[in-house]
Each structure stands twice: as C-alpha cells, then as structure tokens.
C-alpha cells in the first residue's frame, strides 16, 4: 500500500465549474430531498406536496439552464471538469428541455397517482433521478459519462414502468424493459471498450483529435466499436430493428410514464447520439452514415405501417414514437449543422406533443389504465369537446399538419436530408408521413364520430366473462344479446361491459365524462397551445435550436 501511495503522490484534481452542472445538481438534489422527506414524513407528506417539490425542482433547474444559456452566449462553448462535460448551447438546450418535460409529467402524474391511490413520493423521486440521467447524457463529453447518464436514466425508468404493481402488464413491461435494456447497456459498454482500444481515449474531444490526425488504415476495431455504440443508442431511441420492446413497454407502463419515456429517454439518448457521432466521429462519417440510413428508413416504414393495425392507442403511440425516431434520425443522417438543428427542433416539439398526448390518454384510460382501446375514444368530442379538440391538435401536430409545430419539424429534417442529397430517404420519409397521417386521423375521426358509428362493431367489445354469460343464460337476455344490430348495441345497453362486474358509479365514470384534474388540464392546455402557437409563429423556437447548434463542439 505504501508503495502505491508513493507512486501516485501527485493527483491533479480537475477544476470543477459548478455552474456547468448546476441543473443536474439541482435535479439530483431535489430527488434526494424528496426521498428524505418521504422517508421521514411517510404518513404525512401528500401527493400534492411531492408534486409541488418536483415542479419547483424542475423550475429551478430550468432557471439554472437559462443562466447557463447567457453564460454560453457570452463566453462561448467550452468543456469543463477535465473535459468530461461539455458546456455549450446543445447541452444547455437539453438541460432546459428535460426539466420542462419532467415538470409536465409530474403534473400529469399527480392526477394519476391520486386516482390510483398511490401514497409516498417514490414516483417523483424516480422521475427526477431519471431526468437527471437524461441531463447528464445531454452534457456528457466522455463515453464513460454518457454511460453513467444512460444508466441513471434507465434504472429509474425500469422501476417507473413497474409502478402500477396491481396490473400484471406493468410488471411484464418493466421486466421486458429491464432485461433488454441491460443487454443493450452491456453492448454499449463493450462498444466503449472497443472505442478505447481503437482511439486510446474515451473522451469525445480526444477521440475526434486522434481520428483527425491519423489516417486509420485498418479500421475494423473502430467500425465494430461504432456498430456496438449504435446498437446501444438505437435501443434507447427505439429505432427499428431494436424497437421490439417499446410497444409492450409503452402499453404496460402507467400512461404518464409512457409519455416520460417517449420524451425524456429519447431526448437524452438522441442528445448523446448526436454528440458522439455527428460531432466526435465526424471524420468516420462514411463508416456510420449507411447504418443510420438503414435505421432511419426502417424506423420510418415499420413505425408507420405497423401502427395502422393497432387497436390500442398506447400501442399505436409507441409505433408512432418509433416513426418519430426515424424522422429524428434523418437529421442525424444529414450530419451537418442544419441536420443537428432540425433534429433538435424535432426533439423539442415532439417532447411537448407526446407528453400532452399521453396526458389525454391518462385521463381517458381511467382506473388501472385499462381503457386504452381505440373504441374508448368514441364520441369523446360530444362528451368533452375541449379535451377532444386538444387531443386532435396534438395528434395533428404529430402527423405534421400545417399550422402546428410538427409540420415545420418534419419539413426541416426532410430539407436537411435533401440538401445532403439523401433523396431516397427523403421520399421514404414523406411516404411514411402520409401513411402515419392515417392512423392519427383515425383516432381523431373516432373521437368526432357519434357513439357506435365507428370502429369494428361490437364483436370485439362483447365481454367474454362469466358474469356476462350468467346474464346470457336467461333466455330473453340471450336472444337480446345475439340479435341486437351492431349500431343499436351501445345505445340500447350503455356501458354493458362495465355493468358486468363494476359498481354503478364506475359505469358513469367510464362512459360519461372522464374527470380531468386541474393540473392535467394545465398540461394539456400548455402542450396544445405550444403546438399551435409555435406552429403559426415558429421563429423563436427555430432560432433557439439554431443557436444551440452553433455552439456545438
């Protein structure tokens, strides 16, 4: 031991620029504070207080990010903490986006947790921890730090996916996500090891410098490293063919968590993907660009086509998020300043839209997140016109309709790819956008059509359970059940399937107006307004994304 100590007598401690990691520290500190409070005041602390702490933490982190923004604009981009953390506009944008997404998710989750009778602050603690992981990924300038962020993000998400512990699908989703996520993390780690072998460093700046100075003659190791890193990232952003987990996980997880997963996990993973590949491995573009091309094309096509056939809205949104990942990959494929800024713009607009969409799904789904079938949305426009209108706006935004943020987002990434002569990919993207418009519009049409006129008829709806069979055993009831024509079914027997085993109060709740907590209203309203206002007047947001890119190292 003394020998070891003698040889390592000089340790150069890095200078720590605390402002550069202030939002991350605030987020982790908030998680710890809430964990402490919920341990000490287990029976006293209410869900509302936990939500308030989470929202305040998010706000504090966002304010810190705005302070960072000013500093970066004044002093320019730099790396800090021995080059492990990047402090530039790109990282600041992620530090701003993730707390925003977390705050919105916390407000949606507030209503969800109260509805499900969950006590304690664990949900918010995990969400904050997960968000801090995404923020670490956004600021990471070293592959090891990227991996740390990835794990902080993922491990909390595995638990969040299982949060509805009374529902078997939730546990299944968590287990699936955990096992597949661990494998992808391991592959990613192997990629880091090979990258260290190929370039002699895990630091992104040093890697780029090494590759720029030397012409790599036999690049087998480097290509293998890039492939493994891409697998890890593609899994996290659920790009085809690494997407198989996402429909099951999105469907099984509690709805607010699905929204969080689709926004924050994707934002973190795409941030790291852009920084590692477009910035650090820019010289090896010929090696990784074809892979990104295939990932993007497959995600665009598979996401759009498979979503057409989904009867469950959460599953459909999962495939839609795969499709969106394909669009963001277009920006990665373009691999220039315009590509990065368009990918960032897409990420920002998509994050807001998807959280709003899942907020609506959360309130429609009702207790235990069960009512997520497409048929549950029938006649929503008549029962709750404002909610239906908000959902329609958010879905149209995702479809890329004009006068929403989604239109310019899709236009920008396609333009970026066209300008780098990726015409085939651009055509694939436009075709997939047209296909995708169908399934978004199908939900919208379902909402605006009167009860019973849309959907696949009552056959899918007929309850096949003992209680209904008991009813059918009565001769009169049996003939009634079998001869009522499809359209008259719902009108004649409103809420027949709920009547089977639920108390009367539940029937009213399921078929009548779904209760929307005020906090959820705030989120839905904010997301819908954001989508429309910045769709009509996009200049500030586009400028923001472009500034963020200019300072990209």
């Amino acid at each position: 031991m003394t020998h070891l100590a003698a040889t390592a007598s000089t340790i150069h401690l890095p200078h720590v620029n605390y402002v550069s990691i202030l939002p991350i520290l605030i987020m982790m500190g908030g998680a710890l504070l809430l964990l402490l409070l919920s341990s000490l005041l287990r029976r006293i602390i209410s869900t509302g207080v936990c939500t308030a702490i989470t929202v305040m933490t998010s706000a504090a982190a966002a304010v810190a990010a705005i302070v960072q923004w000013d500093q970066v604009l004044a002093n320019g981009a730099q790396t800090t903490i021995a080059g492990a953390v990047a402090y530039d506009g790109f990282s600041v944008l992620i530090q701003l986006l993730v707390p925003l997404a977390l705050g919105l998710t916390a407000l949606v989750a507030d209503g969800y947790l109260k509805r499900e009778g969950v006590v304690g602050g664990e949900f918010q603690v995990l969400a904050m921890a997960s968000a801090s992981g995404a923020m670490v990924m956004g600021a990471a300038n070293d592959l090891i730090v990227v991996f740390l962020g990835l794990e902080i993000l993922s491990i909390a998400l595995y638990v969040l996916a299982a949060f509805n512990h009374r529902r078997a699908e939730s546990g299944e989703a968590a287990l699936k996500y955990f096992v597949l996520g661990s494998v992808s993390s391991a592959i990613f780690l192997y990629g880091i090891a090979l990258m260290y072998g190929a370039t002699g460093s895990t630091n992104l700046a040093k890697m780029a410098e090494f590759l720029a100075r030397r012409a790599v003659l036999s690049n087998g190791l480097l290509l293998a490293a890039m492939a493994l890193l891409l697998v890890g990232f593609a899994f996290k952003v659920s790009a085809v063919p690494f997407h198989m987990w996402s429909p099951d996980v999105y469907q099984g997880s509690p709805s607010p968590v699905s929204g969080f997963m689709a926004s924050v996990a994707k934002a973190g993973a795409f941030a790291a993907l852009l920084r590692v590949f477009v910035s650090s491995l820019a010289t090896q573009r010929l090696g990784w660009q074809p892979v990104i091309w295939v990932l993007a094309a497959l995600s665009l096509l598979v996401g759009a086509i498979v979503a057409l056939n989904q009867q469950d809205v959460k599953r459909m949104l999962a495939y839609s998020s795969i499709n969106h990942a394909g669009f963001i990959l277009l920006g990665v494929d373009a691999a220039d300043a315009r590509g990065i800024s368009s990918a960032l713009y897409y990420l920002v607009t998509y994050t807001i839209m998807v959280i709003g969409t899942f907020a609506v799904v959360t309130v429609i789904a009702g207790r235990q997140d069960r009512a997520t079938g497409l048929l549950e949305f029938r006649g929503l426009a008549r029962r709750q016109p404002v909610l239906a209108l908000a959902l329609a706006i958010l879905l149209l935004g995702q479809a890329g309709a004009p006068f929403t943020t989604g239109f310019l987002a899709k236009f920008n990434v396609i333009e970026a790819v066209v300008l780098t002569h990726g015409y085939t990919l651009a055509v694939i993207a436009m075709v997939s956008a047209a296909v995708a418009a169908f399934f978004y519009l199908r939900v919208a049409l379902t909402m605006f059509s009167p009860v019973g006129e849309f959907g696949d008829g009552p056959d899918d709806d007929v309850p096949l359970d003992p209680a209904a069979l008991v009813g059918a055993a009565t001769p009169g009831a049996a003939s009634g059940v079998t001869t009522v024509p499809p359209r008259a079914w719902s009108a004649a027997m409103p809420g027949i399937d709920e009547l089977a085993d639920a108390p009367p109060s539940e029937v009213v709740e399921a078929r009548g107006k779904v209760p929307v907590p005020p906090a959820t209203w705030v989120v839905i309203g904010f997301c819908a307004l954001f989508t429309v206002v910045f769709g009509i007047y996009p200049a500030p947001l586009v400028d923001f994304a472009q500034h963020a890119t200019l300072l990209f190292i």
Partner: protein, 163 residues
C-alpha cells in the same frame, strides 16, 4: 493479428470441448428413462407433504438491499481511503456527500420497515388487507376480492380489455 491467435485457438478448443461433451454423453449415458420414483424430490421414498413456498416476505429483499447499500459504500470508500492524503479536503468533501446520499437511501429503507420484524404494520392506511385468497380472487376476476374502504369491491376492470 498474431496477438489474437491464442484467443482464436481457445475459442476453437472451447467449442470442441462443448461438442465432444455432448457427443460423449449421448454414447456413454444410460439410455433408460427415469422412473417416477427417480424424479421424486426425495428419492428415498418420503412423500413431500408441503409445497415449497414460492412467495417470500418482502422484508428479505429489504435486508438484501441494506446489504447492497453498504457494500457499494465500502467499495467506494476503500480506494478513497488508500489515497486519502493525496485527495485532501476535496476528496473528504466528496466522500461525505457520497455517504450522505447513501444514508438517505438507508433512511428510506428503514422508514419502509426494513427492520420492523414484528407483527405486520400497514404503512398505507385505507388499503384493504391482502391475503392469498383475495389475491387469487383479484387475479381471476371473481367476486369476493378485496374491498375498498367504502365497501365497494375493487374493480378488476372491463372484461373486454382483459380478453
């Protein structure tokens, strides 16, 4: 490339060993199928009376988590202790912060009853008691399941969704 040759040889040897083991076992192993007595839990003939329990109280996991927490703490404290003097006050502050974080996790476990091995204490008031029969009833969707505080049976959802 020469450096990788031993690895290649090892790989081939490993594959050969696995393949040979399978081949050898097909030739050498007895061909008779095991009888019912052979595959019984106790080959000597005792009939097992109680099924082994498949569910463990969650407390065991909490104890395991306490072990992991302190295990991780020691893993990081050890290298710090080795170069304690070189790191100086910065290292001390970092380790104290780390220990505080770990301590919060420990507090959380205690507040969740990791050390309460007495009679069952319900941490969340208002939730009905869960027994084996209530769980079976809830999963199978039959009436007679858990009842909420208001006396209304907990809904097991719409049957159409469950199908």
């Amino acid at each position: 490339m020469d450096a990788y040759l031993p690895i290649l040889i090892l790989l081939i040897l490993g594959l050969l060993f696995a393949a040979l083991s399978f081949v050898a076992s097909t030739f050498l192993a007895p061909k008779k199928k095991p009888t019912a007595a052979k595959i019984a839990p106790y080959e000597c003939g005792i009939v097992p009376e109680v099924e082994p329990p498949s569910r463990f109280p969650v407390r065991f996991y909490l104890v395991a988590m306490i072990f992991i927490i302190f295990d991780i703490e020691v893993v990081f404290l050890y290298p710090w202790a080795v170069i304690f003097r070189q790191l100086g006050s910065f290292g001390l502050v970092e380790v104290v912060v780390f220990a505080a974080v770990v301590f919060v996790a420990f507090l959380f476990l205690i507040s969740n009853g990791a050390f309460s091995w007495g009679p069952v204490v319900r941490l969340t008031p208002g939730v009905p008691a869960r027994t084996s029969s209530s769980t079976i009833a809830r999963i199978s969707g039959r009436p007679g399941g858990p009842v909420t505080a208001a006396g209304v049976p907990v809904s097991t959802g719409t049957p159409g969704q469950a199908a």
